[in-house]
Amino acid sequence: MSESIDTHELDVLVIGAGGAGLSAAISAAERDVSVGVVCKSLLGKAHTVMAEGGIAAALGNVAPADDWKSHFLDTMKGGWGLNDPRMAEIHAKESPERVRTLQEWGALFDRTDDGKISQRPFGGHRYDRLAHVGDRTGLEMIRTLQDKTVAEGIDVYQECTTTHLLLDGDQVAGALGVWRDDGSPILFRSKAVILATGGLGQCYRITSNSWEYTADGHAMALRAGAALVDMAFVQFHPTGMVWPKSVQGTLVTEGVRGEGGILLNSEDERFMFDYVPDAYEGSVAPTVEEADRWVAGDRDARPPPELLTRDVVARAILSEVSAGRGSPHGGVFLDIANQRSTEYIQEKLPAMVHQFRELAEIDITEDPMEVFPTCHYMMGGIRVDPETQETAVPGLYASGEVAGGLHGANRLGGNSLSDLLVFGNRAGHAAGDRAEGMDTFPPIDDEDVTNKLNSLEAPFEREDGTDPYALHAELQTVMEEYVGIMRDDDRLTTGIERLEDLAERAANTATDGSRAYNPGWEKCFAVRHLVEAGLAIAHAARERTESRGAHTRIDYPEPDEELERVEFAISLVGGEIDIAREAVPAPREELREMLQADTGEEETQ
């Protein structure tokens, strides 16, 4: 059977062409191996293109006191201590070099007055740390990586969806997928496979994530035998658009607050001053006056409370709206118009000016925006080895948003783009090394391929199966209602029951039309992945009987010390979800001492 399929032999197969996938491909190609990248959309359209604010890296160009240690400590604090300490260390140490490499490949960052890469402040980072390109950092990053990929002669298979990983015993042997343009199958035989498929935001109705974010990587990895960790931690970005309804969830960059934007309720109160958590008491400005000084550039002042971590700001907004102090369309106000000059806003936030003008007919240099939390990022993901990014499946690697561990209970802004560069690079090298050391391709099991192809075809044959569009909409409602921002045991238990029912129906979808470019058919497999991811989130959230970072339990409103170094790992055992309570790796001695000594305050020089 598999002889008749369009078959490609690639030593290293990278699934995903965002920042993580392209970094991995470029680094793998530094070894003596053949490398290919597959992606669902056209090259250059992955989510990374949408990133706005910047890349976090302790370059120390603006704040000379910044170093990897401060970045490490901020990341750990932002993640409520649940981060894998070795990943956080590697990330903090290697991101400056990766940013400089990106610059050498042609990325044109904004500059400081002395001609270096400029850095802007962002929530949870104690120093000005984000290398940026106006509010289009992701565009510059993906274009640079895309050009480098092409220049290196790496094969790109665009508009090609992988649906299954193939195994030889317990090691990876390749992947199976479909060409979107005509629906025909494609088979990859590979010695190493890197998953860089991004997130799962399509689980939720209000989201900043595109149609691509359907948890494909999470689901494929689970089935292949890998584990998912930290799945309770879904980041709801505090500022999504609320109106018009059709753009609900579209992101308003944190850069707006970084540039001085403030949050107001319907009573014109700057409410964030009332929501400073104990852990951050003393590290944010207690008064408007001090916050204003910080915005004006005085780094002896402390930053405004609007720049607290995303979990804190999102909960604060939710509380204000629930208390009846919301804006007309059910959000709160984000005002930069009264904080900065029109010229300044246009120069620093051109994409936001454009977005609001075109989509909401609002001039943000004149009027406030209305914002509400939107599903934005998945902190959890596939468990990987910090050094190599290898999963529990030999030869299978994961990096970028699809991998877990670095961010713990909450991700700091800017720490994703740096994550992609650092761990994409590491995964690429490790996968390249593995492939270099193997003489032959692992064998493919023809019968397995045939079965998998049949399962893909099945929705065309079912007479009265489920409509995948309706199922997807129902899933989003269930997730919003029972597995949303505010959780408790009852809701999560009901949510799991509803999701189990959805899982049954998701295995029974039907579609029609031709195989060619058929989004209805594609949704049949995507919705299965989403339901599986939804179940993983709900189970992990129910087990986690505490509130920590992005995970808020109404019935357990405080963090539980017992769970401080505990993670829940989800895997499939005999087709059933299995949840294991495990210890987070302990930090090595030097890191532990740093963590204990850290006060979170800036060093005075």
Binding site: S41, L43, G44, K45, M50, D113, V247, Y517, P519
Partner: protein, 277 residues
């Protein structure tokens, strides 16, 4: 107005397949929607037709939302590209009443609810299915451009004004709307001879990079065929990123070609360097 491109079927008269009970353009106070009529191209490169759909539209909806409504409620296999839904990724390019546009940035309120809106794929490229075209030619052209080439000892110290010179061109989201509208590609199908505005924007972005050292003039003249552009400005008019393609990217590069190839002094220099290399 345009001639036929290979693989692009002629747009035929609309056939009505979908009719709702509500009269077109009516406002339904209960659901707070207004009904719009869309005539959407359905078919592949060989065969196709315009199919009419009545779509309930809420305030603030964009054309892409209307297409998603059709997918979810009428035609699950309707092919359309999109990703960001906020004008940042350049995926959702198509022609709306013949105008090359990003469908995620076209608010329905810009259109008249009483007149059918015609939605067709970009015309300069072969159709794969419905509103999706085969744009792979663009990627092939791109691969021929000499990539960013810094000097071996470049130290990457440069200033904001140096960055600004290249910035405009680097805003490009690769929507290919400029390629679609350019008559050299659209009407004359000179894809073998002319790279099109998008790639003159790319080479300008590279050229103005403060650390780039490559000379792409020969590519510009011989392969990109910059001489084919006759400065009609249509590309600049459709660019969703407001890049002044013609004035800021193409004209300066045309001038460089002229300087290098038709200026006698430069010609001698070039000959000499040919001998020496």
């Amino acid at each position: 107005m345009s001639t036929q491109t290979e693989g692009q079927p002629p747009a035929e008269e609309a056939t009505t397949e979908e009719q709702s009970d509500e009269p077109t353009g009516d406002r339904d106070p209960e659901t707070d929607t207004t009904t719009y009529t869309l005539e959407v191209y359905r078919g592949d490169g060989e065969d196709g037709e315009l199919v009419t759909y009545d779509v309930p539209i809420q305030a603030g909806m964009v054309l892409l939302d209307a297409l998603h409504w059709i997918q979810a409620n009428r035609q699950p296999d309707l092919a359309v590209r999109w990703n960001c839904k906020s004008g940042r990724c350049g995926s959702c390019s198509m022609e709306i009443d013949g105008m090359p546009s990003l469908s995620c940035m076209k608010r329905m309120s810009e259109y008249d609810a009483d007149t059918p809106i015609r939605v067709t794929p970009m015309r300069a490229f072969p159709v794969v299915k419905d509103l999706v075209c085969d744009v792979s030619w663009n990627y092939e052209v791109n691969a021929e451009i000499e990539p960013f080439t810094p000097a071996p000892d470049a130290d990457f110290t440069f200033y904001q004004p140096d960055v600004e010179r290249s910035r405009e061109f680097r805003r490009c989201i690769e929507c290919f709307l400029c390629q679609d509208v350019c008559h050299v590609l659209r009407e004359h199908d000179k894809k073998d001879a002319y790279a099109g505005p998008r790639y003159l924007v790319r080479s300008a972005g590279l050229h103005f990079h403060p650390e780039d050292t490559a000379d792409r003039t020969e590519w510009m003249k011989e392969d990109a065929g910059v001489g084919y552009c006759n400065i009609t400005h249509c590309c600049s008019d459709v660019c969703p990123e407001d890049i002044e393609i013609t004035d800021n990217a193409i004209i300066p590069q045309k001038e460089r070609v002229v300087d290098e190839y038709y200026d006698p002094l430069a010609q001698i220099k070039r000959k000499l360097s040919d001998v020496w290399s």
